[in-house]
Amino acid sequence: MRLVMVIDQSKCLGCKSCVVACNIENSIETNNNWTEVFDMVSGQFPNYHREFVPRPCNHCSKPPCVDICPTKASQKDKLTGTVQIDQKRCTGCRYCMSACPYKVRVFNWKKPGKVLNENPASPKRPKGTTEKCTFCFHKTGKEIFDAKKEGRKHRVEYNAKDAVLPACVEKCVGKSRIFGDLDDPDSFVSRLLSKNQYKVLLKSKGTKPNVFYIN
C-alpha cells in the first residue's frame, strides 16, 4: 500500500480550512501548523499569476528525515508507506528538521498548551520532540491495521461512502485534496494521475514525494 495525496490546485480557494481542520483533528495550537497553504504570486498586475499550494507532509518514498534520524524515531511505515514519528524514541536533536527540504516538521519547543475541545483520539505530543503531518495516521492507519488483523481486504477509496480520510481531505471545501492508495490501480488517485499531468515539490532533491499536484 502506498498512501498518497493528490492536490487539484484548480479547485483550491486558499481558504485554509484544511489547516483549521488539521489543527482541530490533531489538537494543535495555531503556531505549530502541520499543514500550510502557500499563496504564490508571480508577475505584476494585470499580468500576473496567482496559485495556492497546499502543503502537507510529502511522505516521501526516499525520505531524508528517516535516513538521518539517529534514534530511528522517524520511520517509514511498511504497511501504509507513510513517514511516521515514534515520539517515544525521539530525543529532540532536530536533525530531521534540517534534513527535510520542505521544512515540514515542527518542534514542541514547550509543553503543548491546552486546546479547546481537545480531540481525545489525537496523538500525544511530548515536550521536546519533533512532529509533523501524519496523514491522520490515528484514523486512516487504524482502519488499515484493523482490517489486516481481521484478515479482510481493505481498500482506501476516496469516493467510497464510508471512507476514512485525513481531516484536511474530509473538510476541503473545494474537494481539492484527494487521498488514496497509489498501489491500487483502480483507486481514484491512480486514475487521476494516469489521466493528468502532475508535478511534485522540489523534484531536484530526489526525495520522491508522494504528494502530487495537478492543475
Binding site: 502557500f38 531524508p64 539517529p70 524514541r89 536533525y95 527540504p101 518542534f107 514547550k110 515536550k127 520532540t129
Partner: protein, 418 residues
Amino acid sequence: MEKNFETRPSVKYMENLSPGYIFWVAILLAFICGGIYAYINQFVHGLATTGLNDKIVWGLYIQNFAFFVGLSAGGVMVASLVYVLKQEQFQPIARIAEVVALICILMASMSIFVDLGNPKNFLFILSNFKSPIAYDVLIINVYTLICCLYIYFDTRVDFVALKDKFPGRKLLYTLLSLGRSKTDEKTLRKEKRIFTFIAFLALPAAFLLHSITAWVFGLVGAVPGWSQSIIAPIFIVSAMISGTALITVIIIIFKAVTKANIKNEVISKLGLIMACLIPIDLFFIVSEKLTGLYVKTEAIHHETVATVIGHLAAPFWFEVIAGLIIPLILLVIIRKNNLRPAWIVGLSAVLILAGVLAKRWSIVISSLYYNPMQYPDVSYTPTLNEIMIIGGIWSFGALLFTLAMKFFPFMKLQDKKA
C-alpha cells in the same frame, strides 16, 4: 633517579594556593552555577527558552559543539607533532595539548547534550547507523577513551613519582595511576610501546572525529550551505588552526602563571604553524565561495551570495579579515631578535579563535536561513538562557584546566628512558 628528579622542572606551583587562584576558581564556579540554573530552566520549560525556531533549528549549542570538537582535534594534532613527527622541541607543550584535547571533547559532549529537547531518550541515539549523528556520537566516545589512555600512559610514571613527593595526596595519585606503581625498566619499556601505539592511533582518530562532525552537516542535502564536498577539509584546517591557537593562548598564560620552562622559540614556532595553516584555510574558502558565486546553480548560488555579500555576511568577513588576514600579517611581519614576540603570537591566536567561532556561526547557523519554500523569513538571536548555558560549559572547561594545574604534571618530571 631521585637526584635526577631534583634537576627536573619545579613542581612548586602545584603546592600553594594564591589568592588570585582562589578568586579565579570562585568566578568560574559562579559561572558554572549560572549555567546549571539556566539548564534546569531549559529542562523545565523546554527549548522555548532558546532563540531557535522551526526553521533555524540549530544555534549557539551546535556552533560551540563544532568549535570544541575542532579545538580538541587540533590539540591532538599539536601533541602528535612530538610523538608522530618527532619534533622534540615541542615536548614541553605536548601534555598541555593532550589535556586540552580531553577537556575540549568533554565540553563538546556537554554542548551537544544540552541541545537535546528530550534528553531522556538519549540512549536511543545509537540505533540507526545510516545517520551521521550516530557515527559522531560513536567516534566522540572512542576518541575520549583514546585521549584518556594517551594521557594515562604518558603520565603514569610521574603520578607515581608525585605520590612520593606529596604524601598528602597519596590517594589521588594512586587513583590517577589506577593503582599501578611499578617503575622497573621492563614495565616502562612496555608502557612506552603502548604509548607510541596510542599516539599513532590518536592522530587518525582526531582526523576522523572532525571529518565525521563535518559530515553531520555535509550529508544534509536540504541545506545547500552544508552539503558541499569541501566541508570536511575546511573543518580539518580550521580545527588545526584553532587548536594550535588555543594551545598557544593557554601556554602563554601557563608560562606567565607558573614560570614554567617553555622557551620563546616554541611559542614562535607555534606562530609559524598558524602562519602556514592560514593560507591553506584561505585557499579553501576562496575555492568554496568562488564556485558558489560563479556557478549559478540556484540553491548554492543563492546561499553563497547571502553569506558573502548578503544580509548574513558579517560573520564571514569577520572571519576572513580579523580571523585570518590580520593574524597572518602580524605573524609574518613582526619579528624581534629573529623571533615572533609572545604577545604578537598570543594576540594572533586570540583573533584566530574569535574568527573560527565566527566561521562556525557562518557555517552552522547562517546556512539554515536558506528558505526554498515560501515561508515567512525568520531569524535567530541567542537568548540570555542559551548564553548562560554556553558560558557555564566554557567555565567548566576552564575550571578543569585550572584544577589540573594543581595536581597534573604538565612538565615531564623524568625521562621514561631513565
